[in-house]
Symmetry: C2
Subunit: 286 residues, 2 copies
């Protein structure tokens, strides 16, 4: 049976004393694409239009990092530890080379993983994310504090404000996203426990703390990188994507119009085409 | 006979009292793509890998604006007049809808044309260019002054420094570009007269002059726009492409790695694919 985002069973693998939950589907045989999700997100926070778009041509691996949802363990309070857990998970699957896609908090993990594991990580896709000590990253942005602090009639409607702009077109795309996001009916991940957000916020705070020469570390990210964001991201300000492109030695940047933090969910087909083009370029060069 | 960049004859059409030189080739029947070239450039300063890449799927129109090379008339000393001449040229061909691609100085013309002629211009591609009063645009940048002021054993080698970064990879791409750039052997455009650079510099100076709310005018550019540049452009600083994306209501940005002003000549296949994707999106919406 060919599995999809909706049908792929949750599997488990042990590493670092953690029982990692993951799902794996798509066209096997090439370099798999490993997804790293956002703040408080689980495997079910990805958009099937994105994951299945990629799955046509490559293997897609979703997972819950340590302490998240279906995985055991505790959420560590630093991005470095999260990246080390991610590396242990990838190795536990017996993989020696992967492409890594990280979104928001997951993009911090993806950067750190790519730098720590230059042989394991072939190419890296950084979506809606930013550098250490990035603009507005010392704490949640005022907009993020308001959006995450508000209450919503439907809890899912939080994501209409996190991922999309207030424009009619973006909100319409958001409602389509929410439908897709609920398509998987069986074997969904449980929501994260109340211990997840505080630990992730602590890690985000350390990452965002102002420091000297904050972008220097990006010189060590030598793999080809693709940086993607909406042109109007209020959760991780868009300028941070520009800063990433300017400081990673071999990075391409794509910014989408009238899009906020979740531009990849607003333009899933376009995003899959752009990222696929990037992943299919020859070798490790640009 | 199917014409190419190398074989398309230079034709002429009259408008605004100017005899405009142009070349037209590629797959007819859709919305043509009209190219606007850089400072002191002629029809022969385009890269056949780019123009023929587009010509597979659409009609390509190259032209010399007023006072340039094979066209008659004088180069006006403002971007607005250059854009008005470009509009007159397009109308003289009997066209009622075109896509417009502008590079560097040509990107200033393309912006202005798109704003002045919202019905005539369907979509706009802005390459290696910037907004009014952009960063480092009041005069030529120090790097541009040095590069344009230097002497070169081979005059064409100027373009290795204008369009490409000093890296070995970018320079190698530059040498390939120079070969392609000389492929057309018959019916080449003459180099521009000594009157062209001063008039174009005067227009660039007016465009770049600091003013209040300099980016406000971009709100009137309502067509879908794609902004493209190298991540390390020293002729029109890369940040200007970011500013364009942030201020044009419906703009996508793509920045290429290890590339300077001529990123489209460094990555011609990738550029053609990205721009073609953009031009083929549905209708006038994003």
């Amino acid at each position: 049976m060919i599995h999809t985002h909706q049908t792929a069973p949750t599997q488990f693998v042990e590493a670092n004393g953690i029982r990692f939950a993951y799902r794996r589907f798509g066209k096997a045989g090439g370099v798999p694409l490993v997804f790293n999700i956002h703040f408080t997100g689980t495997m079910d926070h990805w958009d099937p239009a994105v994951t299945e778009g990629f799955a046509k041509d490559r293997e897609v691996i979703l997972f819950d990092n340590a302490g998240i949802s279906s995985s055991s363990g505790e959420v560590p309070t630093s991005i470095e530890e999260m990246a080390a857990d991610a590396a242990a998970f990838v190795r536990a699957l017996g993989l020696t080379e992967v492409d890594v896609l990280g979104y928001s908090l997951g993009g911090l993990i993806a950067q750190t993983l790519a730098i720590a594991e230059p042989k394991l990580v072939r190419r890296v896709v950084l979506v809606g994310t930013g550098p250490r000590s990035g603009e507005g990253m010392a704490t949640l942005t005022p907009e993020a504090q308001e959006i995450f602090g508000a209450t919503y009639e439907e809890p899912d409607h939080l994501w209409l404000r996190v991922h999309f702009t207030p424009s009619a077109r973006s909100q319409a795309a958001g409602r389509e996203f929410l439908k897709r996001f609920r398509l998987r009916r069986e074997g969904r991940d449980p929501e994260v426990s109340e211990k997840v957000a505080p630990a992730q916020l602590e890690a985000l705070g350390k990452w965002g703390t102002p420091c000297d020469n904050p972008y220097e570390y990006l010189k060590a990210l030598t793999q080809p990188a693709l940086v993607v964001n909406g042109g109007a991201d209020v959760i991780v300000y868009t300028v941070n994507s520009f800063i990433l492109q300017q400081n990673i030695p071999n990075a391409q940047l794509i910014l989408y119009p009238d899009a906020s933090h979740g531009s990849q969910f607003q333009y899933p087909e376009r995003f899959v085409r752009h990222v696929s083009m990037f992943l299919e370029e020859q070798g490790r060069g640009a």
